[in-house]
């Protein structure tokens, strides 16, 4: 419940307590874990962070960029802007630094808040319990998922249209004595590179140019790839796409 409340507050991170509370939560899950900095930065496997006399600029730089040749990763890719600010502020507070406001938190574009159906769609899109039968096995969106298909630009009207999506880029390859559906990445010259779509997950495969023949059509159907989803779930996914895909 506490966590839910925090997430709802997230978009603004209105006051210093919100920032530090979220920062502590992010810290506990990303930095304090058993083998790393310990609760409140008191050292686990990795160095102690509390009361070290760090300044805020140094903390922010290290959290964002990591420290090469050590176990300290760069979090600029894995944490969003709000969480990055919260966690660096929290580590700052462990070194006696009062938290600032998140730059731009009270002006400029507010961090995205999705409508409820889009939030559900988002969860379905990346849903781990579907294994390889989830959308993100082939589609990257919002920095998550595997970029196999081209970026999504056009959003189908409804679930039926999503199932019967035309996929003219899926071709048929004939190689090593069998034919299989592919997305062509590069062809011609000495090497042909394709995504083999025989079954999920797609496999990037490289063949010497002469070892593969390509045919510009396929029996592959998008409907089969998304068969694990109910229509209502697909409608939620479409709502998610409408909310995040920039035309």
């Amino acid at each position: 419940m506490t966590r839910l409340a925090l997430i709802l507050l997230l978009p603004g991170l209105g006051c210093a307590q919100d920032t530090l509370a979220r920062g502590q939560e992010v810290f506990n899950k990303s930095c304090a874990t058993g083998y790393c900095h310990g609760v409140k930065g008191t050292a686990g496997g990795a160095p102690k962070l509390a009361s070290r006399g760090f300044d805020q600029a140094y903390i922010t730089q290290v959290v964002r960029g990591g420290i090469p040749a050590t176990g300290m990763p760069a979090f600029s890719q894995t944490l969003n802007r709000v969480d990055l600010f919260a966690v660096t502020s929290y580590v700052g507070s462990l070194n006696g630094i009062a938290p600032a406001r998140l730059p731009g938190a009270d002006r400029g574009p507010a961090p995205r808040k999705l409508p409820e159906d889009a939030m559900r769609g988002r969860a379905f899109f990346y849903e781990a319990v579907r294994g390889f039968d989830r959308c993100s096995t082939c589609h990257q969106l919002d920095g998550m998922g595997i970029a196999v298909a081209d970026p999504i630009v056009k959003i189908p009207e409804n679930a039926a249209a999503l199932r019967s999506l035309p996929t003219p880029h899926v071709w048929t390859a004939v190689a090593e004595g069998e034919s299989f559906p592919v997305l062509v990445v590069a062809k011609g010259g000495s090497q042909t590179k394709v995504f083999d779509l025989t079954k999920p997950p797609p496999v990037s495969r490289s063949f010497p140019g002469a070892a593969v023949q390509l045919k510009e059509s396929s029996n592959w159907r998008h409907a089969d790839a998304i068969a694990s989803y109910q229509d209502a779930e697909l409608e939620n996914i479409l709502a998610f796409l409408r909310a995040v895909v920039k035309p």
């Binding site: 506990n28 083998y35 686990g44 496997g45 176990g71 990763p73 990346y126 997950p201 490289s206």
Partner: protein, 551 residues
């Protein structure tokens, strides 16, 4: 003709199973039986003092040290370094034949890599951002590459070496201390296509799901972060499965005491059909693991007489400081015995493997537990010599204070359910380690080599009755396999966190060891001993042999 040979090989292995390597070191554990034992005896107890370096290879990739097990096939060595770089080297001269330059993305914490697999003319690599890659063994050319998960979402990574089995390559994953559901993925070696996936936590409707409370199965841990083994005669793949998450707090995942176990198949050894990935049997070593005592380590497959009867066995060490001996045909429990002095989470085990007097972490009160979550041994692998009948295992006397704390799962983030302190000494003395010889059938300790720091490198046993390993100070050394007496030692210039091997080319025996301190566990001991600042990082493969004129 080929069929007849195959049949002969099968028959042979069914009766006189052989886990020894010879000229090649083809698998992570030496052979698929994971003995880490070489039948080569050119280097032996009488001449090992003449062992000298013949070449060194610098990977140039110093992050996280060099934790790899090199693979040698037909005079070519395949070596992976921390950031998923792969090198093919001439095993005689060290000359680089090719390098596969993985475009290592930044922003990941655990970039270590413990080795590649080789088979069917290909080299297989798992990466810390969850790709599995098949390379042409001759050229290093990428043949296929497939994402088996999204590391940014699952918080998981492939750091263990893949296992090549028949026509497939099987890979596990880290992530078990986070909100993650573990699995093994088997891919077709030729095409990279999915062959099967085994989730270590059964889903709704599957047997074992009832051992999970509510939806806790979705993010219940059960990582498969080390490498399994394979018995060709039984067609079974054996793999150790890690602890359940949240690690220290079980209140939200424990579904009560059940005959089948708790939170299956975590904290278990599983035997899977190699063709389908279906569970043939499982043995849960510690039902309701609340100490991050993982069961993810190697499964060593040996045949030994137990109470007058030949048995096909698995020897498996749990991080809880106990060795487990199981029947690998049925999963039946045979024996357990402690391999460390300090194991205060239990008062001991019954004849049938139930642990008594369990002490569990609680909320708001730190309790000292031994071993710590670092384990009675770390992931570095044990060796087995059929000549002595002993297993050789590193052991650590190291503890930590644990506290449990209820926690909600957030996918891909840490899910420890509490915390622990830095490493603390046990009641009986300082933090220390030892390398021990045990008879796995009787549990008797035959000898013990004591060491003042931690032993974090794997063990190699050879038919020359030698046992090799390295230490954090940079010494690579050989002990007498029968007595534990140190016979030879060489300063390699950087601490040891990898796995040494032996191979031969043109009749000359080589011993190769990765050197290069690093790794999470390696860094963690910095605080214990100030002088450990002098345990240098590095990433170099050192190769030794007897001087040409002294063979």
């Amino acid at each position: 003709m080929r069929y007849v040979i195959a049949l002969l090989v099968l028959t042979f292995s069914a009766f006189a199973q052989d886990g020894a390597t010879r000229a090649d070191w083809p698998y992570y554990g030496g052979t698929q039986l994971a003995w880490r034992y070489s039948a080569l005896d050119q280097v032996n107890t009488s001449n090992v003092k003449k062992l000298a370096p013949v070449w060194a290879f610098q990977t140039g990739d110093y992050e996280n040290g060099l934790q790899s097990t090199p693979i040698v096939v037909d005079g070519v060595m395949y070596l992976s370094s921390a950031r998923s770089q792969v090198f093919a080297l001439d095993a005689v001269t060290g000359r680089q034949l090719w390098q596969y330059k993985y475009p290592a993305p930044r922003g990941y914490a655990n970039t270590q890599n413990r080795g590649v697999a080789v088979g069917a003319g290909k080299v297989f690599l798992g990466t810390y951002d969850d790709f599995v890659i098949g390379l042409d063994a001759k050229t290093g050319r990428e043949l296929w590459k497939v994402a088996v998960d999204d590391a940014r979402q699952c918080g998981c990574a492939i750091t263990g070496a893949p296992l090549f089995v028949k026509d497939k390559v099987i890979v596990g994953s880290t992530g078990g201390d986070g909100a993650f559901r573990g699995y093994l993925t088997a891919l077709d070696a030729k095409t990279g296509r999915l062959a099967w996936r085994f989730y270590t936590i059964p889903g709704p409707g599957e047997k074992g799901n009832e051992t999970w409370k509510g939806d806790s199965w979705k993010f219940g841990g059960g990582a498969t972060w080390m490498t399994g083994s394979f018995d060709p005669a039984l067609n079974l793949v054996y793999w150790g499965v890690g602890n359940a998450a949240s690690d220290l707090y079980a209140g939200d995942r424990y579904a009560g005491e059940q005959a089948a176990g708790a939170n299956l198949y975590t904290a278990s050894v599983v035997a899977l059909d190699a063709d389908t990935g279906k569970v043939r049997w499982y043995y849960q070593e510690v039902p309701k693991d609340v100490w991050d005592y993982d069961a993810a380590y190697e499964c060593v497959l040996i045949d030994r007489e137990v109470s007058g009867k030949m048995r096909k066995l698995i020897v498996h060490i749990n991080k809880n400081g106990y060795v487990f001996v199981l029947d690998r045909v049925t999963g039946e429990f045979v024996r357990t015995f402690p391999m460390v002095e300090n194991h205060n989470w239990t008062t001991g085990a019954t004849e049938d493997g139930k642990f008594l007097g369990r002490v569990e972490p609680v909320e708001n009160k730190p309790i000292l537990f031994c071993p710590s979550a670092a384990g009675g041994k770390s992931w570095n692998q044990i060796a087995y010599s059929p000549r002595t009948g002993f297993i050789y295992s590193p052991g650590m006397e190291m503890c930590a204070e644990y506290q449990a704390k209820q926690q909600e799962a957030e996918e891909g983030r840490g899910f420890l359910g509490g915390n622990w302190s830095q490493s603390l000494p046990p009641k009986d003395g300082p933090i220390r380690s030892h390398l021990d010889a045990f008879d796995p059938v009787t549990g008797k300790k035959v000898w013990s080599y004591q060491y003042k720091y931690v032993l974090f490198a794997s063990v190699l046993a050879t038919a020359g009755d030698l046992v090799f390993t390295g230490d954090p100070e940079g010494f690579f050394f050989a002990l007498d396999a029968r007595t534990g007496k140190k016979l030879w030692s060489f300063q390699t210039g950087a601490g040891h966190r990898g796995s040494s091997i032996s191979y031969s080319v043109n009749g000359r025996q080589y011993i190769a060891t990765p050197t290069g301190w690093g790794s999470i566990a390696g860094r963690s001991i910095m605080d214990l001993w100030p002088e450990s600042e002098t345990f240098h990082a590095g990433s170099t493969l050192m190769v030794f042999a007897l001087p040409e004129d002294s063979k």
